[in-house]
Each structure stands twice: as C-alpha cells, then as structure tokens.
C-alpha cells in the first residue's frame, strides 16, 4: 500500500512538472470535439443527436494519446528497470501506474465534459449521465490501455500497433457509455447501463493488472 502511494505520488509530481502533457491531452479533447460542429453543419437537432458519440469517441482517442508516453518515459531513463527489480510487486506497480494515469488523463476529461455537452447543444439532462458514464468508463479505459501499453512496450511501430490492439477492446465501453446518455436524453432511466459499465470496470480491474504485469515481466526478460 505504501509502495502504491509512493509511486502514485511520484507520478503525480512528475505529471505536474510536465503539466503541459496532460493539458495538451485535455486540449486535444476540447479542440477535436469543437471541430465537429464545423464539420457537421448547422442543421438543427443533428449535433445533439450525435453529440454523445462524438464526446465519447474523442475521449477514447485522447486516452490513447496519453497512453503513448505512459511507460516509455520511465523505460527510457531506466526507472522501469529499477522498479521491476525492486522488492515491490509488479502487480502493485501496475495498479499504481493505472491510478496515476487515470488521475492525470481520465479526470480532466470528466471535468471538461459538461463544457462540451453545452458546446454541442445537447439537452441539459444529459450532463449528469455523461459525467457518470465517463466516471465509470474512463478507469476501464485506463486499465485496458495499460494492458495495451505494456504489451507493445518494445514493439516496432508502437504508435500504430497500440491503437489497433486497444480500440477493439474499447468498443463495448463506448457502446454502453453512449447508450447511457442517449437513453437519458429520451427521459428513460439508464441505471442498468451504469451497472453494465460498473461490471466492465470490475472485470477489467480483476483481469487487466494481471495481464499488464505479465507483459511487463516478459518485456524485461
């Protein structure tokens, strides 16, 4: 527990030192969503119908961006080797990295989402389902992303390979996350969809750290 907190502490401090990185990812999120009104056009009602999908897909892409430098920085300066040869369990290291990644990339997305819901002229009863959906979905995205990130640590063409592997696994979360918002916008309750997202979160919290720690061990043999 102490080790996990120390690693999270260190990661958060480094992210604050390079806070431009997290701000860039958040900025990418906002700018890309803002492109869609220009691209789709001023037709009334169109933007609010596709708005949930736009925000979620862009959140996925922003998470992918932030995953790129998740382990590669540490690997380049040897910190990862030190961590892996230390008495701390690799499982704890993975959990700590996932949490710090979510805090620096998922949380800004959740905080910015109400702004974008308003920008896409979506009805005001969709703000809460968007926030809760992202709150339940982005940790899962971080965890699946960590698996993809550690699997492709030393691979060639990592920038293209990682999205290819991670995005098919992101699709169910995307479907249910958008479903939450769409169902609420039609004034039905989306409680069941929140449960499904929570289920994904629990499954990925059980399976992904194991897969990521195996991948880390394998990349350092």
């Amino acid at each position: 527990m102490n080790a996990i907190l120390t690693i999270i502490n260190r990661d958060l401090r480094i992210s604050f030192l390079h806070r431009a990185d997290s701000l860039l990812v958040a900025g990418f999120f906002v700018i890309t969503v803002m492109l869609f009104p220009f691209g789709i056009g001023p037709e009334p009602g169109l933007l609010e119908r596709v708005g949930a999908g736009i925000i979620w897909v862009t959140a996925l892409l922003a998470t992918l961006l932030s995953l790129n430098h998740l382990f590669s920085e540490d690997e380049r300066d040897g910190t990862l080797e030190l961590l892996l040869t230390s008495p701390v369990e690799i499982y704890s290291i993975v959990i700590a990295k996932t949490l710090s990644h979510w805090l620096t990339s998922g949380l800004p997305l959740i905080i910015l989402s109400p702004l974008l819901v308003a920008a896409l002229q979506m009805p005001s009863n969709t703000i809460l389902p968007m926030i809760i959906g992202l709150l339940l979905g982005t940790p899962t995205l971080s965890m699946i992303g960590i698996v993809g990130s550690t699997l492709t640590l030393n691979a060639r063409l990592r920038g293209i390979l990682m999205p290819l592997i991670i995005l098919p696994l992101y699709i169910p979360i995307l479907i249910f996350g958008v479903g939450c918002v769409d169902v609420e916008s039609m004034n039905f309750s989306s409680d069941r969809l929140y449960m499904v997202l929570l289920g994904f979160l629990i499954i990925s919290f059980t399976l992904c750290p194991w897969a990521a720690s195996t991948a880390l061990k394998m990349s350092f043999e």
Binding site: V147, L151, T152, N154, A155, R156, L157, R158, L161, L164, I165, L167, P168, L169, I171, P172, I175, I203, L207, C208, A211, T214, A215, M218, S219, E221
Partner: protein, 235 residues
C-alpha cells in the same frame, strides 16, 4: 496431451492424421455442397438465398473455433512454454481471420436481400467484427518485435485477453433481441428441419477438416523451419 509437446512426436501424429483429414474433407465437402446447393429444399420465406447459410454458419463456427484453439494454445504456451503450442496458435490466426472475414462477407451478401441492408450494428455482427480486429491485432503484435520470443509472449497475452469476446459472441443473440437470428439450439432440440441439418452438418465437418489440414501443413512447416534454423546456427 503434454506428450504432444515434443515436436517429433507431433510430426509423427500429424503424418498419421493428415491423410484421414484429407479423406474426411473430400467425403464431406462433395456431398455437403451437393446437398446444400441442389438437394436441400429452398426456405419457404427466404427462397433460394437460404443456401448462403451453408457457407455462413460453418465459417462463423470455424472463426470462433480457431480463436478458441488460439487462446487455449496461447495459455498453454504462457504456462508451460511449449514452442509447439505457440506454433499452433500462430498457425490458427490467419486461418481464423479468413474464416471470420468469409463469415462477415457471406453475411453481408445474405443480409442485402434478406434484411434490406448488408450491415447493422447489432451485438453479434459487432462482436464478430471485434473478433476480426483481435485476429489482426494478434498477427500484428506477433510480428512487431525484433526478438521473436517477446513477440510470441505478447501475442499470447493478447489472445487470452481477447478471449472474453468469445462468450459475448456466443450469447449475444440470447442477451439482445435484435436483427440477427437467434440460436437454433435450445432445450427442446434443434429448431431446424432435418433436410437442412444434414448439409449444414456436412459443411461444418468439411470446414473443420479443412482447418485441420491447413493447420497441420503450417505447423509442420514451422517445425521444419525451426529445425533448419537450429542446424544453420550450429554450422
């Protein structure tokens, strides 16, 4: 099963199985196609286009089966480090990818006259598409490493992670009541007429034996390849 891990033993067993597989393939594809295309009756609703089912269902089954074999062999490779397990998994991947593509394409050809649209984003079609992406990702990550051992392990982990998709595909027609037809197997028995079960069954056996033939050829080649590499390294 662990005795199969010895490559020479596997080669011996493969040599025995191969002629049987070829015979089974020939004796199931010919009557299968005959029954499917000519003898079996046209459907009362769909007419002659029901015959696409005899290609679509076996290739869907083989896509799932290949991924299951790939996942099981990847698991056994990660646990016991048998090179044969990895070879079988690597061999299954392109075969399974092509079967899945065939399933999706034949489904599109069938959907256009039947549903009015070649594609719809219902659960089964979407999860089969995800299966295809998983196959492509498996092949891509296996070849993305300078060190082949790292590539093998990375792709093995990906195969295991993606195997959560298999129950989703299988039960998707039960969980969501959307466009794709529900399963024909139930507690009351098979809900398909016997004149259609026979060609379907024959085509499944044909596709299965074809898979075994291709798999054995590919694994044989991989084993011989590794032997040549070992000899050339010693020289």
């Amino acid at each position: 099963m662990h005795a199969l891990a010895n490559p020479n033993k596997f080669l011996k067993i493969a040599k025995i199985i191969q002629p049987f597989a070829i015979i089974i393939f020939v004796f199931s594809i010919i009557p299968g196609l005959l029954f499917a295309l000519i003898v079996s009756p046209p459907d009362y609703q769909q007419g002659e286009t029901v015959r696409i089912m005899y290609i679509h269902v076996p290739s869907a089954w083989m896509g799932l089966f290949s991924y299951a074999i790939m996942a099981i062999c990847s698991g056994s490779y990660l646990i016991w480090r048998y090179p044969i397990a990895n070879m079988i998994a690597r061999a299954s991947a392109p075969i399974g990818a092509i079967f899945t593509t065939l399933c999706l394409l034949s489904g599109m050809l069938w959907g256009e006259p039947m549903w009015g649209t070649p594609w719809v984003w219902d659960a089964r079609l979407t999860s089969m598409l995800v299966l295809l992406f998983l196959y492509i990702g498996y092949i891509a990550i296996g070849n993305a490493y300078e060190n082949p051992e790292q590539g093998n392990k990375a792709s093995a982990i990906l195969a295991l992670v993606g195997s959560v998709n298999l129950p989703i595909i299988k039960f998707s027609v039960d969980w969501w009541n959307t466009l794709h037809q529900p399963s024909i197997f139930s507690m009351e028995g098979i809900s398909l007429d016997s004149s259609m079960i026979t060609p379907l069954f024959l085509m499944v056996i044909a596709f299965q034996s074809y898979y075994i033939i291709l798999l054995l050829i590919n694994v044989n080649t991989q084993i011989i390849d590794s032997k040549i590499r070992a000899i050339s390294l010693r020289l």
